[in-house]
């Protein structure tokens, strides 16, 4: 049941010209029937709401002041884009994303290599790394919050750490704890994707390289990394976009104070705390656009094909 090397099942063939066109039609009809429910549900909660958000974002809608509603054009966008707070939060979110994904990549690769090379206890290692993956993010955030809490956490009783260190009291340390929580929670995902990638690499290549006198580092750089590239890029794409949505851990740990607010928290504050749906929707739409841009950059710049393209090739 573990991951199977790519390309093993390229030989399957169906729906050739020998089939009657009735058969093809029936097959297409069945295919659309089968896909329709899932597609409808997926569109229902994404495309329609995002259009709705765009509609809200050009209006003044504040549920606390219902009589003031009306069309305001791009005023909400102007308000958001001219606010230093928005740019601050975009910066914060980018910082969290870049730093946490980089650390995850290094740690994840190390974990994947450990799991790949370990002589024994592989199952145990795999089980333990799956625990962070399975734990509810809010619970993970509480766990680390309690651990770093200056009045009750164990961290401040460790050697070399000030008894009174207020981790959430300044920006640098608050960011560190938030990033650490993200890293702790999501490195396993990265590691497992990379492990599956490692499994597809032919061991023979290493043997050959050894014979040629390549040392471990050279083998890693010349064989492992290039061959791992597809898995690496997919993992990076997923994690980058996931990290950009960071919300739960900040919400629990600082609620955005000490300048640790992310764009998701900003949208939440406008939408839910202030009930200012117009302004909040403008923030939501802008976040959506940023995510689109990131995804686009990955797909174009790094040449990552949609993983499914082989389905069409047959």
């Amino acid at each position: 049941m573990t991951a199977v090397p790519a390309g093993r099942k390229a030989s399957r063939k169906r729906g050739g010209p020998a089939k009657t066109s009735d058969r093809t039609k029936a097959e297409r009809k069945l295919a659309y029937m089968l896909c329709a429910p899932a597609v409808i549900v997926m569109l229902l909660v994404t495309v329609y709401p995002i259009l709705y958000a765009i509609a809200l974002s050009v209006q003044r809608v504040d549920l606390r002041f219902p009589e003031e509603s009306g069309f305001v054009g791009l005023d909400n966008y102007v308000a958001v884009l001219s606010s230093p707070l928005w740019w601050q939060d975009v910066f914060n979110t980018t910082l969290i994303t870049v730093v946490s994904v980089s650390i995850e990549l290094v740690l994840g690769l190390a974990l994947a290599l450990i799991m790949h090379r370990a002589l024994f206890g592989r199952g145990l290692i795999r089980t333990s790394v799956l625990i962070p993956y399975g734990i509810v993010t809010v619970v993970a955030a509480f766990a680390w919050f309690f651990a770093f809490d200056p009045s009750s956490g164990f961290v401040n009783s460790l050697p070399f750490i000030g008894e009174d260190k207020s981790w959430f009291g300044d920006r640098g340390s608050a960011f560190s704890v938030i990033i650490m929580t993200e890293v702790w929670k999501t490195t396993p995902f990265m590691a497992l994707l990379l492990l599956a990638g490692l499994a597809t690499i032919d061991e023979g290549l290493y043997e050959a390289a050894k014979v040629d006198g390549a040392n471990a580092w050279q083998r890693f750089v010349k064989i492992t990394l290039p061959l791992l590239k597809p898995a690496l890029l997919v993992a990076l794409l997923f994690r980058t976009l996931d990290a950009f949505r960071v919300f739960d851990s900040i919400f629990i740990m600082t609620r955005g104070s000490q300048d640790t607010e992310s764009v998701s928290i900003l949208a939440y504050n406008q939408l839910i705390s202030r009930l200012n749906l117009g302004l909040g929707s403008a923030v939501s739409v802008l976040i959506f656009i940023i995510v689109l841009l990131i995804a686009f950059a990955f797909v174009r710049g790094l040449g990552t094909a949609v993983p499914a393209s082989q389905g069409e090739k047959k």
Binding site: A31, R117, V129, R245
Partner: protein, 280 residues
């Protein structure tokens, strides 16, 4: 192949210990806090001095009106319903994609991928506004629908990967014997696909179990509030006292099922997580 020197064994042991420590330390800390009394909760010690079960029992005091029971029932029900529906719908779609010939396959897969990356915060505002007009606000359905949406891509990718491994000759044989594509799907493929379906189900369940953003924005009472959102509703000895012990106890309670899941189904989870991604 592998170096089996004592040094390698030592390295393996060290790696194992480090990984175990890394993964378990916050869980152990929560466990420790959950057994501490209010007087010792801030003693910073890893081993509780006075062990108490009060943090656990008080979560359930009062039956259905208790702090945790209803949210726990909600969490389990919502996650289960979302899982069943998502996996069913995804299985239909994945079968079509893995098995049938039709234009638009790539569009569906690319669309699903796009949705997997969609920022949930962008839709909570509109969803809140739509749900309150439709009467779905603070209901199971109001949470299940967004969970379905965001879980479907995961389920579809996992299932497509599994379905591609199924020996389809059997189905062809059945079709030669006169079965329709639908009968072939139901009688032959479903039993073979069960392990993959099961894997997808675990992943979807973990996803729905984990959600926080939708749970806090689209619920407002015990009728649909799930555990992650309910943690904010615990109160300590007074309005201003942080219910650290209770939160830790509840956190442990929602973590245990996941750990058990992980222990039992770890191979499947790993296979499922990596199925869609690596083959690209």
């Amino acid at each position: 192949m592998r170096n089996r020197s004592p040094r390698a064994y030592l390295a393996s042991t060290a790696a194992l210990l480090i990984v175990l420590f890394y993964a378990l330390i916050p869980v152990l800390w929560l466990l420790s806090l959950s057994f501490k009394t209010p007087a010792t909760v801030s003693d910073r010690k890893f081993i509780p001095q006075d062990v108490t079960f009060e943090n656990y029992t008080s979560l359930f005091a009062g039956g259905l009106d208790s702090a945790l029971l209803r949210p726990l029932i909600n969490s389990i029900s919502i996650a289960l319903i979302a899982t069943v529906i998502a996996v069913t719908l995804a299985a239909f779609t994945a079968y079509a994609i893995a098995r049938l010939d039709f234009p638009g396959k790539t569009v569906i897969l690319a669309g699903a991928l796009a949705i997997a990356m969609f920022p949930p915060i962008s839709v909570v505002g509109p969803l809140f506004d739509m749900w309150r007009t439709l009467g779905l606000y603070d209901t199971y359905v109001g949470l299940i629908i967004p969970y379905l949406t965001f879980a479907l891509p995961l389920a579809i990718y996992t299932l497509v990967a599994f379905f591609r491994e199924i020996p389809w000759e059997l189905e062809q044989a059945a079709q030669v014997d006169g079965a329709t594509p639908w009968q072939a799907f139901r009688k032959i493929i479903l039993p073979l696909a069960a392990p993959g379906v099961f894997t997808a189900a675990i992943l979807v369940f973990i996803f729905a179990w984990n959600d926080f953003v939708f749970a806090i924005t689209l619920t407002s009472s015990d009728s649909a509030r799930t555990v992650p959102a309910a943690l904010a509703f615990f109160t300590g000895d007074s309005q201003f006292t942080a219910p650290t012990g209770n939160i830790a106890a509840a956190a442990i309670l929602v973590t245990i099922p996941i750990i058990v899941f992980v222990l039992i189904f770890q191979r499947r989870i790993v296979a499922g997580l990596t199925a869609g991604a690596v083959k690209g």
